[in-house]
Amino acid sequence: MLPDEGKGLTRIALAALALVLALVANVGGAAAQGGGVIIDATGAKRGKYPIAIPLAVASDGAVARELAAIQSFNLDVSGYFKVLDPKSFLADLEAEKLGIEPQRWKDVGAYGVIKYRVVTTGNTLELEARLYEVSKGNSAVLTRSYRGTKADLRKLGHAWSNEVVKYYTGEAGFFGSKLAFVSRGKGSSTVMAVDFDGANPYAISRNTSTNMLPAWSPSGGQIAYTSYMRNNPDLYVASAAGGRPTRLAAYRGMNTGASWSPDGSKLAVTLSKDGNPEIYVISARDGASLTRLTNNKAIDTSPAWSPDGSQIAFVSDREGGPQIFVVPASGGTARRVSFNGSYNTTPTWSPAKGESVIAYTTRDGGRYDIVTLDLKTKKMTRITQNEGNNEEPSFSPNGRAIAFASTRSGGSGIYIAPADGSSPAVRVYSGAVTGIDWGPAPRP
């Protein structure tokens, strides 16, 4: 055999071998790719919507920073959103201006982006805000323009945040709502109101006596509270802006713990006019006693009207320690609903639609904590634990958050936490406080 003939045969053999190897490899690959099993996996954890709020460009710097802080705080405490850290952003904000390059935001894990421009001219403030969903490209899904004075900055920021929440949930947010509370001083206590985020506190009661247990009317225009200004714990109603109150109920003994009916026409109160603290319904117009709901040797107090107006929760020690009971608002038999521990007080109802949830203060190991209880499912959720004393909860107007008084190590004051206990509480007001009541949603 010639040497070249051998080379030719070798080439043929190599080519054939390559072909065989290729076929084997391909068959093997196909086998690895083919077949398998498919399994149903149901049940994602409830997560938060990642949203980016980059600092505005082409704006008044200080005002833009304040507006970014307002929006970030609002969306963070709403319970729906996770506001992304601006340090992670990759987008060229100067080039983007009020638009977005979607892929840049997808790359940092944002599903939504808020862009805005705020310009001040003299005392006038103009705000243009846009919301983008990165999956929907570079067209804004929500655009709003606002105009006001410089003093309106917070108000406009809250209005925009409410629009964002409404876009996603169909429900109004609670930004711009107010909290009423009692600030405790030496020898006196004052009923006060403050924006839900702790801004703009002001006094409702303007006397040097003891004032306590404020309750917003459903319209938000009035606040009922109990005052010793005439040496007896009488019930007063004042304008939500503060000022001279009207005495509504001055029965002998206690006139305390007012809770407005959803239509604002009646108040559930604790009266001891017949010798023992009992729950009554009185007229919100003139304080006339309408219905006595409880008749018991025990102490019945702290009434709270349900959002649908059909029930009233209250505290009674008729079975030993104080526990939460619920009675029909028209009268009837009360039923006990709290069964954890030996001390449960200050019930309040969630206004969330379709829910039947109460929050209350419970004593646990010598400390006081906030829990929620779903009256339908009996599911109890702990909102606070091992962080000082936490008392007197009150739901936000949409039921998504709870405000309460706390003496935790981070400092005493009013704290806000998601009502599902999904993230830690944040302090919105510092000081010795009690009697928290969250007012209604702001009017658009």
Binding site: L2, D4, E5, K7, G8, R11, I12, A15, A16, A18, L19, A22, L23, N26, V27, A30, A31, A32, Q33, G34, G35, G36, V37, I38, I39, D40, A41, T42, G43, A44, K45, R46, G47, K48, Y49, P50, Y80, K106, Y111, V134, S135, Y168, T169
Partner: protein, 240 residues
């Protein structure tokens, strides 16, 4: 051209020709396989997967047959004797017999009026579960399925978060390949839901699962080793 040169050229041409044919065959076979696979995927990305209710991946064993008693077939009936057939005879007209009436009784008077909201009973809403009924490991919901694949599913769900304010329409399918040592060789979103956020959340969950399993791999048990050459897919549904 000398004879030696001619022979050399002939060998070269022959070799090159063989190489070209081999290459063409090789590429043809390779491509046709790729195209076939691509076409299969385009038709239905899940067509080659077997649906199982829980996480079982072993074919059930056929139950052993009990010994059967031998039976003898009865003899065929004997034809009666003395009967003849006259093929020339005219056919006899027989009066037509009335057809038997259906024997189902009329129960309409017993029917309950349909006042509830339930519609007519339709197709079952659950996917067929195939042969994998979990009987090997128990029939209770909490014990059904292979514990190894069940643990993967639990880890996957633990790392899956989806924003509650978004629509949960769609059921993406995430698939993974296991290595025998329990690490995840690769994963992919085999079928997208068309909902960017939902698909993204599943991809993130798969990436988390890969990280978790790579950090703490659990070797694949012997009876599931055949699965390491197949896709293990999870049909992801936000809630029931």
């Amino acid at each position: 051209m000398s004879l030696a040169q001619g022979e050399k050229t002939m060998h070269l041409v022959s070799g090159a020709g063989t190489l070209i044919i081999s290459t063409v065959l090789f590429v043809g076979v390779w491509k046709s396989s790729d195209w076939a696979e691509a076409a299969t995927r385009q038709r239905d990305p899940l067509a080659d997967l077997e649906i199982i209710d829980a996480a079982l991946a072993e074919l059930p064993k056929k139950p052993e047959q009990q010994p059967q008693k031998k039976t003898v077939a009865p003899p065929p009936p004997e034809k009666p004797l003395g009967v003849s057939r006259d093929e020339q005879a005219a056919p006899v007209d027989r009066p037509e017999q009335p057809k038997p009436r259906p024997t189902t009784p009329d129960l309409s008077s017993f029917a309950r009026p349909n006042t509830d909201d339930d519609g007519p009973v339709g197709q079952p809403t659950e996917q067929p579960v195939g042969a994998f009924d979990g009987s090997e490991f128990g029939f209770g919901d909490e014990t059904r399925g292979d514990p190894y694949l069940g643990a993967i599913k639990a880890d996957l769900l633990r790392g899956w978060e989806y924003p509650e304010i978004l629509s949960d329409v769609g059921t993406p399918v995430g698939c993974l390949h296991l290595e025998p040592d329990g690490k995840i060789e690769k994963w992919e979103l085999r079928e997208k839901s068309g909902n960017f956020e939902l698909d993204d959340s599943v991809e993130r969950a798969l990436a988390k699962l890969e990280k978790l399993r790579d950090a703490k791999p659990r070797p694949v048990p012997g009876h599931l080793i055949p699965l390491t050459r197949k896709w293990i897919c999870y049909r992801m549904k936000v809630k029931d």
